[in-house]
Amino acid sequence: MEDFDTLLKGSAAAHGHLCPGQVIGVRMAMLGCDLIGLDNPSVLPQIKSLIVYVEIDRCATDAIAYVTGVRLGRRSLKFVDNGIMAATFVNLDIGRAFRVRSREASRKLVENYAPGIEDKHRQQLEAYQKMPQDVLFEITQVSVDVPLNDMPGPTGFKAECQNCGVVVRDKKEVYKNGKVLCRICAGDSYFSIQ
């Protein structure tokens, strides 16, 4: 894995701007990978060992994806919409996982680690780079049993919606009123047809 400065520069470029979220995301990813014994997660063979669950869709998430190489399309990046600045790093080969959560209290300590900087944005950028790990993050060893239908690799599960005929992969179908349905036909839709 490259050093922090190089990763932060690359992450900011990939994300589109440098922000405190990039600093937190890069540090979170480096720490998470270290905790589960992966030193080069974005290339083979380690790329196949890692799954990351992110709990928020904000800047830090892009940084985590950049550093670790996990991708939604590769099924190695899982989004759990908890609205919490946290991510869980899972080493599939050894069944080891850690959840790293950004401490809310760290926001109030920015002044301590980057005193005298007027601009809040710049102050956060500086402070989050200097803050000790245990001040910035809460680390919890966890157990994650990734469902087989959520694993990377070819899909082993396909069902046909008995209402609209669409093929639903990876056990995302719903059994309702005696019919196997896609989530849309089961009434769980994020859109309405005009």
């Binding site: 270290d34 063979p45 069944g95 049993d145 056990k171 179908e173 059994y175 196997v180």
Partner: protein
């Protein structure tokens, strides 16, 4: 037996005596019928690509990491060789399966795949040939009991579940399945897998519909204000617990014609379910069930094999169920309503046979502190 016992210990391979014993089995070249079902073979690390580890390999990085870097059952890849060398490994014990055999962890993944129908999932990392089956969403857990029994009669495999028709929530454990020996013959496994494949879905979770229900509270004593109604609160709480809602409530006297009119009104307004309370016994003033019949229903079933709830009535007009709850539901925390409501919300259409089948397990023990559903009632 000895070998299976050894395999059930997670760190069995750390016991070099056991491995030595296994090695001896290999070397002795016993007659075919005396060969052990499992053999661990020692090979050089550089020859290990594509082989399956017979043991966990622990890594310790002072202050940073301690734990298994490679697990039993892991297939060694080219890129792992340097890592293994760094860990000081020059030789490994690997599983030496012949082409007709399958490891317990791979076997149980195939078993779970065949057993788990819609709404049922399982982990990707079996331990000692075992996996838990879990609900993907809230709903009614369904298990086909006869094929489940048949599956368990097959050698080397098993599956245990919670009871059929249990309401479950997302993530709840529904069952567990296990490959019993460390190594299974593929032919034997395939025979077992045919049972859930033919019975698909052997295990499933039926999603609950969110219904809008109308409630008709009957009883002249309530209508006249002699006593206060307590049914509305009871019914509403039970509907809400499954994500449904009480859309309208009407209180009526024991008047058959008015009850019929109210049922028709709710049907005409397109409510998904109609619930009536009281008036279900054989007393001359108990006319609710007759009032429901008078609305012109398609099917009607009176009486069930459940206590409390013997005088329950279930009718249907089209796809709309009309549920007649007897007065016992005022006294007992759990009644037949708690057994039938989840089935209706799961899209089932219980009939007289289904109501009779509830008799086995249909006796509430009326415990001083109600623990339903964590009890025998309805199981």
């Amino acid at each position: 037996m000895f070998l299976k016992q050894a395999s059930s210990l997670s760190a069995f391979v750390a016991d070099k005596n056991i491995l030595q014993t296994m090695g001896n089995y290999n070397e002795m070249q016993l007659k075919q019928n005396e060969l052990p079902e499992y053999v661990a073979k020692k090979i050089k690390v550089e020859d290990a690509v594509g082989t399956t580890l017979a043991h966990d390999i622990t890594e310790i990085r002072p202050g940073a990491f301690k734990g298994p870097s490679f697990r039993k059952g892991y297939t060694v890849k080219q890129g792992d060789l340097c890592h293994l060398m760094r860990l000081g490994k020059r030789h490994l014990y690997i599983l030496d399966l012949n082409e007709d055999q399958i490891h317990e962890d791979q076997a149980v993944l195939e078993m779970a795949t065949a057993l788990a129908g819609p709404g049922v999932t399982f982990g990707s990392s079996p331990r000692e040939g075992k996996l838990e089956l879990k609900a993907i969403y809230d709903g009614l857990f369904k298990v086909q009991v006869d094929p489940l029994v048949e599956f368990n009669l097959m050698p080397d495999v098993m599956c245990a579940t919670i009871h059929n028709a249990t309401p479950v929530i997302k993530g709840q454990t529904l069952g567990g399945t296990r490959a019993i020996p460390l190594v299974i013959e593929k032919e034997s496994l395939e025979q077992a897998l045919e049972i859930p494949r033919k019975a698909y879905p052997l295990l499933s979770v039926k999603s609950f519909q969110k219904v809008k229900a109308g409630l008709i509270i009957t009883g002249s004593e309530v209508y006249d204000g002699l006593i206060e109604d307590r049914f509305q609160d009871i019914v509403e709480k039970k509907l809400i617990s499954f994500g449904s809602e009480l859309a309208d409530v009407v209180i009526l006297p024991d008047d058959q014609a008015r009850i019929t009119a109210a049922v028709r009104d709710f049907l005409n307004r397109g409510l998904d379910m109609i619930v009536t309370t009281g008036g279900m016994s054989v007393d001359p003033d108990d006319v609710t069930r007759h009032g429901i019949r008078g609305a012109g229903v398609d099917e009607i079933y009176y009486g069930s094999g459940v206590l409390p709830g013997a005088m329950f009535q279930l009718a249907y007009k089209g796809s709309t169920p009309i549920v007649g709850i007897p007065a016992c539901a005022l006294y007992h925390e759990a009644t037949i309503f708690d057994l039938v409501l989840p089935r209706l919300l799961a899209g089932e259409r219980p009939d007289n046979v289904d109501l009779a089948k509830l008799a086995h397990g249909g006796l509430c023990l009326n415990c001083p502190t109600c623990r339903f559903p964590a009890c025998t009632f309805g199981k």
